[in-house]
């Protein structure tokens, strides 16, 4: 069943702050096998002009995707998550995420489309720091595949 178009433009309340830790960044960098010292060595990060270690460009997805759960699990929207695949992902950074950041995410449904029985949902996640400054915006396209004919 096609999703309700009236949800387009709906924003969800900002999430509680997520505190970015140095060790979490290290764990993520190790998981993607990336030895760049800007992720683990504060002095190396400072030499590049950053106040502390920075996170890899895709790290923030863990935070924005969790925030998008508000949309995905909204019973009124009625998305069948068991059939959802990740279609597209895009980030626009005003600055890199760094250790010590306390980040909140505001998720907005940007578009809902229905194609060949698939529901396609575009969610924009605006990430701000404790001072309210914009850090990064994440666009996530989710595709809920059509259920097979019974």
């Amino acid at each position: 069943m096609a999703l309700d178009q009236s949800f387009v433009g709906r924003s969800y309340p900002p999430t509680d702050p997520y505190e970015v830790g140095r060790e979490k960044i290290r764990e993520f960098a190790e998981a993607v096998g990336d030895p760049n010292p800007a992720y683990t060595d504060p002095d190396a990060a400072k030499a590049l002009g950053h106040p502390d270690v920075i996170a890899p460009p895709t790290f923030v997805f863990a935070i924005t995707f969790k925030a998008a759960g508000q949309v995905i699990q909204d019973p009124q929207l009625g998305l069948d998550y068991s059939r959802v695949v990740h279609g597209d992902q895009k980030f626009v950074h005003r600055r890199p995420v760094r250790a010590g950041d306390r980040l909140t995410v505001t998720s907005t449904i940007e578009a809902i489309k229905s194609m060949a029985g698939n529901d396609i949902l575009d969610i924009r996640g605006e990430v701000r720091d404790e001072a309210g400054e914009h850090v990064v915006t994440a666009w996530t396209k989710l595709v809920s595949r059509a259920a097979e004919e019974a």
Partner: protein
Amino acid sequence: MTAKIAYDDVEVGTELPAQTFGVTRATLVQYAGASGDFNPIHWNEKFAKEVGLPDVIAHGMFTMAEAIRVVTDWVGDPGAVVEYGVRFTKPVAVPNDDQGATIEVSGKVAVKLDDNTVRVDLVAMSAGQKVLGMSRAVVRLA
């Protein structure tokens, strides 16, 4: 931001050093823990096959994280990446053996933009198939 590549030294068509990244089941378990994405399609073969996948597949976000390394290793400062987007066109199937799968990533400068930035277009292949589409990054150079 301190990119080690100068804007004036690149032109449209400049190729970035290509890289090949390995991914095994152990990599996926580690990535699941670090990212918090515990979807069983990334570690449970029985589940993956029941939902119609050929095998356990890598997280799309893992492939995305590997692909951008061609850019961040090139510029040195990962904070120089201002924009990065991909389309997940094909899943990377990861067999349960010692080899796992490989992801081959190449990139080249596609457009020189304003403000010392360039757009790099990336190509990510696995098992002879393109696994990311429209894979583009905008990066600020020195």
